[in-house]
Amino acid sequence: MSVHVTSVRVYITIFLCLMVLTATTVFVATVDLGAFNTLVAITIAVIKMLLVVIFFMHVRHASALTRVMIAAGFIWLLLLMAFTLADTGTRNIPPQPEGWGAATLAEPQK
């Protein structure tokens, strides 16, 4: 019977890591880093997620098939986010009014 029993010590260590990371994310929010605040917050959330997935959800003992399927799911989520933001984030970029491009653009209108 190959039941993988994780020790209580590992579970408590992971729990404490998650607590420290929660405190860290709250602390980082008190510092003004501009756009990097969101980046840091999401990075910490991803680390917390990985700890929960790998240790609490026993993915480290899961079969290769299960792991591949989980990875595929997350890649799909990444595609959803990446393509959505690549579209909506680049819709209203104003044309550059100055520089070498402006002269060539203005010419045909005369």
Binding site: I12, T25, N37, M69, I70
Partner: protein, 235 residues
């Protein structure tokens, strides 16, 4: 395939009885051993969780679009929320994930009293989370006029964007709370099964699979907490 004779049903039953004698009752006939059965169960649960990830993922993507579009409104809206209660609830929920993991461990080791104890603890923490949310957050939001369509009144140039932020806030946290209520319901069934002594080292799949679901709900909150409570900055 051979044609079924008149006595095929009787022969099936005989085969079934012989099969039962060789294998434990919790092992379904179509699996060759308990490991294969457990692996299939875990795979199936993860498949369900992946549909849930895409479901919440769509919401997070929509949130990202509107946050980029109405940056200031989301910023100001977030500052209306009490991050201390949010952080406390994060700790409560991660604590409940720990007790759930320990419940699965107890089931793996056939410790029946510990299974029941840890599931009860998980339920208490889950109910505490929802209680804190209802009592200290949603009730306060109502009195401050932050609930869209329920006496929402926020003044200023970003009022409509703040309203949009609160639509996201209530929909996302509401959906998360609904998942928790479903989880608590499943745990009631687990308690009943555990009190009948159904779980041991051989068979603990229901506890394991419920654990996967509960940890998933925890992960959703791990993302909701910074994106809702901390995006406005605490400086």
């Amino acid at each position: 395939m051979a044609r079924r004779g008149p006595d095929w049903r009787a022969r099936m039953t005989d085969a079934g009885a012989a099969h039962q004698a060789e294998h434990p009752s919790y092992l379904a006939h179509h699996f060759s051993d308990i490991e294969q059965q457990n692996e299939s169960g875990t795979l199936g649960m993860w498949l369900f969780l992946l549909t849930e990830i895409m479901f919440f993922g769509g919401l997070f993507a929509t949130y990202a679009i509107y946050r980029l579009k109405y940056f200031e409104g989301f910023h100001l809206g977030s500052r209306h929320l009490n991050y201390k209660i949010g952080a406390l609830n994060t700790a409560v929920l991660i604590g409940s994930s720990l007790t759930m993991a320990l419940a699965v461990r107890a089931a793996q080791l056939s410790k029946r009293k510990a299974i029941i104890g840890f599931i009860v603890l998980t339920m208490i923490l889950g109910i505490a989370f929802i209680g804190i949310k209802l009592n200290f957050e949603w009730a306060a939001d109502y009195h401050e006029g932050l609930i869209p369509w329920m006496g929402f009144h926020v003044e200023g140039p970003y009022a409509s964007a703040i309203r949009l932020f609160f639509c996201f806030y209530f929909f996302m946290t509401g959906l998360h709370a609904l998942h928790m209520v479903i989880g608590l319901g499943i745990m009631c069934v687990l308690l009943r099964m555990a009190s009948k002594g159904r779980f041991d080292t051989g068979y603990f799949a229901p506890v394991e699979v419920t654990g996967l679901y509960w940890h998933f709900v925890d992960i959703v909150w791990i993302f909701l907490f910074p994106l809702l409570y901390l995006v406005g900055g605490l400086y």
